[in-house]
């Protein structure tokens, strides 16, 4: 573990140099909010931000990704053969990612990379990515990472953790990947004991700023069918528009749909984000839809995150407490309130 201090200018210069060996993704101010974009001439990083509107999950798991391609042209000797599309697995670094979004990758990893199943594309994108996290000095009022196993300076899953010390950044290499990235940045000086103490104080004071209390302790012991049949779902779902805002903004929502798109005789097989809020998500070929009603879809989202995932993986809830769905749900359905209802039912 290396701890190094950089002046902010030095660090920015280092990031620019890093672009020679990494595709560097940084938070960029884009109108009213921040988005993770490739660091280039047009995209200037802005680390003075709370969090990006869309989670950086798309760096590893794009909204649309071409998996395979094929030709239907019978004249072609390879007609109808589905071949894997070329993919870019060159090294990438997501710099400035918040610890909650890193924790979210750990949650998603349990689904895409486990002993039963390995999603080749997610895994390869993830393994080629170095996560350079930026601790949250000022968590938002809607954040609850500390309630779901994380924290504003949580190091789990990070390759490098950045402490914003005001004038300087303290960078902590946490993994071999992280040390390799730091090794490519010139300058900086070793952090002394005082700087390390200041960094720990900063992290401790940030944790205290999280005020949301979202107990999840009783979810595991609940009987699934009791929660499933609980009387509150219709009420929670009334306002829901069944849009995809919560699921698309969520760093831990991983569901997808695979579609074939053909133009002329050339075809692509594409994987797209999907959303359990959409009726089409569960529509069967027969025309039957097991989640035909809005409340069933709303219930599915919360039951998946707060009960099915809990039971299946025995590793907390499928939520990293980033608060995006709380802030941006168009009709203010608040997962904190739903979690309280479920935990206390």
């Amino acid at each position: 573990m290396t701890d190094k201090i950089f002046s902010k200018e030095e660090w920015l210069g280092g990031l620019e140099a890093l672009r020679k060996t990494y595709g560097v993704f940084v938070p960029v101010k884009d109108g009213d909010f921040h988005t993770f974009m490739p660091f280039d001439k047009g995209n200037i990083p802005d680390f003075d931000y709370q969090n990006s509107r869309l989670s950086p999950k798309s760096v590893v798991y794009p909204q649309s990704e071409r998996l395979f391609e094929y030709t239907l042209d019978k004249a072609d000797s390879e007609a109808d053969i589905v071949k894997e599309s070329p993919k870019d697995y060159s090294p990438r670094a997501v710099v400035g990612i918040r610890p909650c979004d890193v924790q979210a990758f750990q949650i998603v990893k349990r689904n895409f990379d486990n002993p039963e199943y390995r999603d080749p594309w997610w895994v390869q994108h993830f393994e080629s990515t170095t996560l350079v996290g930026l601790g949250c000095n000022e968590p938002c009022s809607t954040c609850f990472c500390t309630e779901v196993g994380g924290g504003p300076f949580n190091q789990e899953g990070l390759d490098v953790l950045i402490f914003d010390m005001g004038e300087t950044y303290l960078l902590r290499g946490l993994t071999d990947k992280g040390e390799a990235l730091l090794g490519k940045i010139t300058g900086g000086s070793p952090a002394d004991d005082q700087a390390l103490k200041n960094a720990e104080d900063l992290a401790a004071s940030a944790s205290k700023k999280i005020t949301s209390s979202i107990p999840t302790d009783k979810l595991k012991e609940k009987v699934t069918n009791d929660l499933f049949n609980a009387p509150f779902w219709e009420e929670i779902a009334f306002a829901c528009l069944n849009c995809g805002t919560c699921t698309f903004l969520c760093p831990t929502c991983w569901c997808f749909d695979i579609q074939d798109e053909v133009l002329g005789k050339e075809g692509d097989r594409i994987r797209n984000w999907d959303s359990c809020m959409f009726p089409l998500f569960t529509l069967h070929g027969s025309g039957h839809n097991p989640r035909d009603n809005k409340f069933q879809r709303v219930r599915q989202r919360f039951m998946h995150k707060l009960k099915y995932y809990v039971d299946k993986y025995d590793n907390g809830v499928q939520c990293s407490g980033c608060g995006r769905c709380v802030r941006y749900c168009p009709v203010n359905i608040d997962i904190r309130e739903v979690c309280n209802l479920m935990n206390n039912y």
Partner: protein, 316 residues
């Protein structure tokens, strides 16, 4: 607009007690600043959760579609015009609903407020007449509401409900001399290439979450064309052509029916101004047919009508 909150509670209670309604649709105060949540009250003991302020910018008519109970509903100008459209289009029966009218002074644009405080986190917003106080961890600022109205409210000429069973205050003065189509005219002046570039940029951030479509009371098709799978009309990837197809077709389906309530823009998580599409169609309807949607129960929307004696040549 806070003054209406108590009146809504009283009225809802009265309607329940007089057995006039089975349910009541309004807003309850949100869990985060500048957000309120649509609520269905089914129990007279729960009318106290009803609320109203200048952040009730969704369209409650959206929640009426094909309901079968007797419903009380809060409606300001634009919401009431959508209720009219819903009745004309047989989505709800007039006799089923008890409309509690609210003379509206406009909704506050929450994004404009965030810009005004330079994106510092807002912890509390208190409305006080024509001003509102915004509080954060280390700041407090007072703003004049008039300067922070949503785009559609700033140029609204139907603030008072056009249909109601009871109104909760004296009608407000309607705005005159406002031009809702200034921006549309600018786009009309562009050549086709510039228009294409403008609209491409406008929707470039779209993530196809369909919040705009789903917040709109006009979108009640059992299956939307983008959700059809046999056959599939529109690609589901983030390809810009498919995204543009969605936005164009959505807008055309609203032609002659849109009341410019602004719900679509308000709910967009990516801040897209999709009213630029629907407003052009509203302007065309006004220019070609002298038509504004939802003002009368006696006439169907223009694109929904055929008259053999139409004075336009193209129809003959």
């Amino acid at each position: 607009m806070l003054k209406y909150a108590e009146k809504i509670k009283e009225t809802a209670l009265k309607l329940f007690n007089e057995n006039r309604v089975d349910t009541f649709i309004g807003y309850k105060k949100g869990s985060v600043p500048m957000m309120n949540e649509p609520v269905l009250v089914t129990d007279p003991d729960k009318v106290d959760q009803l609320y109203w302020d200048s952040f009730c910018g969704l369209n409650l008519c959206n929640y009426l579609t094909k309901r079968t109970d007797k419903i009380g509903i809060v409606a300001n100008g634009c919401n009431s015009r959508n209720i009219v459209t819903h009745i004309i289009e047989n989505q709800i029966k007039r006799e089923q609903i008890y409309i509690v009218g609210i003379p509206c002074e406009g909704m506050i644009d929450h994004r404009a407020v965030m810009r005004a405080v330079k994106y510092k986190e807002i912890l509390n917003v208190q409305e006080n007449g024509d001003k509102f106080l915004v509080k954060g961890a280390d700041f407090e600022e007072t703003f004049e509401k008039e300067k922070f109205l949503q785009g559609n409210c700033a140029t609204c000429t139907h603030r008072n409900p056009v249909i109601y069973d009871e109104i909760l205050g004296d009608p407000v003065e309607e705005q005159t001399g406002v031009d809702p189509f200034k921006d549309v005219k600018k786009i009309e002046e562009m050549d086709p290439a510039k228009k294409q570039a403008f609209f491409t940029r406008l929707i470039s951030r779209c993530i196809r979450c369909y919040a705009c479509r789903n917040s709109c009371p006009l979108c009640y098709c059992p299956t939307c064309f983008v959700d059809e799978s046999t056959p599939q009309w529109v690609g589901k990837s983030s390809d810009p052509t498919d995204t543009m197809t969605f936005h164009f077709l959505r807008a055309y389906h609203c032609a002659g029916r849109c009341t410019d309530c602004g719900a679509c823009e308000r709910v967009c998580p990516m801040g897209i101004s999709m009213r630029q599409f629907t407003k052009k169609l509203n302007k065309d309807c006004q220019d070609l047919f002298s038509w504004e949607a939802g003002l009368t129960l006696d006439q169907r929307p223009p694109l929904d009508v055929y008259k053999p004696d139409d004075y336009n040549d193209f129809i003959k």
